[in-house]
Symmetry: C2
């Protein structure tokens, strides 16, 4: 039976690490998980309670753009978080940020179009683009630019994906950097998609939305990270008014609607910022431990992790095969970490990503093991 | 800001009817809904109960192909329903049947490829294909073939979508027809996708799966209809072993995973066939009323509605503008029905789809109003 060329996307290398970690656990070993990109906490209690009470309702299809009260609640968030006055009509509730990217790419780009993004970056950008017959164009970023692209480095392309805080880097674009990038991109005729999925998870200044700078941008966010709702598959996208009808028709046909139960939970989650802030306090402490412990263990070349729950480390002094190195760390230290290859097809062979999204006790134990392992090397 | 050509998919014409019905209701009118393609019943009680008990768990990402026990449960269903022994490794849990189509089309077809389907048919086939830079090729079907394509009518194309029971027709492919179609398609090098989302909802013989005939097929199904879980966005797809790795990588990147909470509910729904059968008994009675009442009202040219919860009527003796006719029915009779244009871009101007998925009392009242309206015309 035929197979498409577009379907031949790259495998996730982290999956090999996760499978090896699962095998080790099945064999009775205790593994500390610094490879996973999701909170260990459940959805906020208020969100779960709201869903429990709604379970007597039919929960059939909602309209394609999502429950009106949820769209209003998200618009209100933009006023609270950024001081931006946002028409709820421009809020599209999506099946996770993944669903938002599929909608944005469909609405903006045709087969063969080029879409640029900083390397290292979230691997699924590249793979979703390929699956849609679009061409990902990597912009090699520099540690001295905090792994964010410079405006003068933008290639010729139809689109640009910005990510702040970045994954795997955790680095944040300042407002002036965001402005310079969006202006340079617009001048080159590029459509800008700003991935803001880690907003709310920052440890210095608050994160700035591209919407504070321009309305001519697709902004993607989600309930997955700050609101700790990864498996619920509910995210959102802010769309320029000019593209609303297009996105609505695409959403009707490609998704029908985001999961209704998850929308009910998400609506209530908007009122659970206290619990989200408590989770953030845990990440903050974890990050403090990591920034203290990783250099002591020998991982000194790290990007300033201003947001999200990741630390990206250059390990070129130890290896030029990060997958092998990650396997060694798993085997000898019992700590699962992510080799950088998923994020940067070239230089990722000499980098690791450490996630600190789990419980603080796990982070402390993981650091102890990493220190011991590196000392014995 | 740029817009893509692929993003310019057709609007749903039924949305105009639904909006008009909503306006009428907001103005205080009582409207009978025969336009909507979803059950009025909630998810099975057992499914909702299982989710309520699971809400204390984190419900983070599952693996991309879905919870292993759910995949096993779906494989078991194939033994129960069809006597097919299915390796659960071939079961892919998806974000509704919509997610299954996106995965199937990505795995099978490249930009510019042609995918054939019978007209009338589910409108989103065409629109998803267009959004993915694929070309939908309609096969005009005949009432005397129960609106299903004939093997000798297959065009040159890379793919074929079969739908049994069909939407809007409700007609069912017999095993010999299914065999002839899949064989003819395979002989022409077409990949076959069999949409079996209405299986379980049949009123004569049981529905036959394409999997009873060949393993060289993508079979799409969902918890939406028979299990009454439309808004939960959880479906599945059976994939040939040769395509599993491709589909898994695509699912990891395009969706991460189907909604976890919905998977928990769906797993429990598999044990709720008694409730599903009770819903089916309601549809059966509704169908009986419709088959009796619609011809009496004047709608005599109807496809034999052997499955699903739709009746497709040729109304060319009354109109060549089905949208206007549907509007007239809504305005004068207070019954919302679907004009055929969404299902058949050409001949749909002279057809209507009636859905009988709602409560029996509504169906009886709807028929009373339709009869009165047609008599007064």
């Amino acid at each position: 039976m035929r197979q498409s060329a577009r379907g031949q996307v790259d495998p996730f290398i982290v999956m090999d690490v996760m499978a090896a970690a699962a095998r080790a656990e099945a064999a009775g070993r205790d593994i500390i998980h610094m490879e996973v990109g999701q909170p260990g906490t459940p959805a906020p209690a208020g969100a779960r309670k709201a869903l429990a009470s709604a379970l007597e309702q039919p929960l059939g299809y909602t309209v394609a753009l999502g429950l009106p009260e949820l769209r209003q609640g998200i618009a209100d968030l933009y006023r609270r978080w950024y001081g931006v006055d946002l028409d709820p009509a421009r809020v599209v509730v999506t099946s996770g940020s993944s669903g938002a990217f599929i909608l944005a790419f469909s609405a903006l780009f045709d087969s063969g179009d080029r879409v640029a993004m900083g390397y290292p970056g979230y691997p699924s950008y590249r793979q979703i683009l390929r699956a849609m017959s679009l061409e990902p164009v990597g912009i090699e970023t520099r540690p001295e630019d905090r792994y964010q692209p410079r405006p003068e480095a933008l290639p010729d392309a139809e689109g640009l994906i910005l990510a702040s805080p970045g994954n795997p880097s955790g680095t944040v674009l300042r407002p002036d950097e965001m402005r310079a990038l969006t202006q340079a991109a617009t001048a080159k005729g590029m459509a800008v998609i700003s991935d803001e999925i880690y907003h709310g998870l920052s440890y210095g200044d608050r994160c700035h939305s591209a919407l504070e700078i321009t309305d001519e941008v697709f902004v993607v966010n989600s309930f997955s990270k700050y609101f700790s709702m990864t498996g619920w598959r509910v995210g959102w996208m802010i769309v320029p008014e000019t593209h609303l009808r297009t996105v609505e028709r695409l959403a009707q046909n490609l998704f029908i609607c985001p999961p209704h139960a998850s929308q009910v939970a998400a609506l209530a989650a908007l009122d659970c910022e206290e619990e989200a802030q408590a989770n953030l306090a845990v990440y903050r402490e974890n990050r403090r431990l990591m920034l203290e412990g990783l250099p002591k263990a020998g991982f000194t070349r790290i990007a300033p992790p201003e947001g999200a729950f990741y630390i990206y480390a250059d390990v070129s002094e130890f290896t030029d095969n990060a997958l092998e190195f990650a396997t060694e760390i798993l085997d000898h230290a019992g700590v699962a970490v992510t080799p950088g290859l998923d994020f940067d097809p070239d230089r990722g062979a000499r980098t690791l990503r450490f996630s600190y999204a789990r419980a603080t006790a796990d982070i402390a134990e993981g650091l102890r093991r990493l220190t011991e392992f590196m000392a014995s090397r």
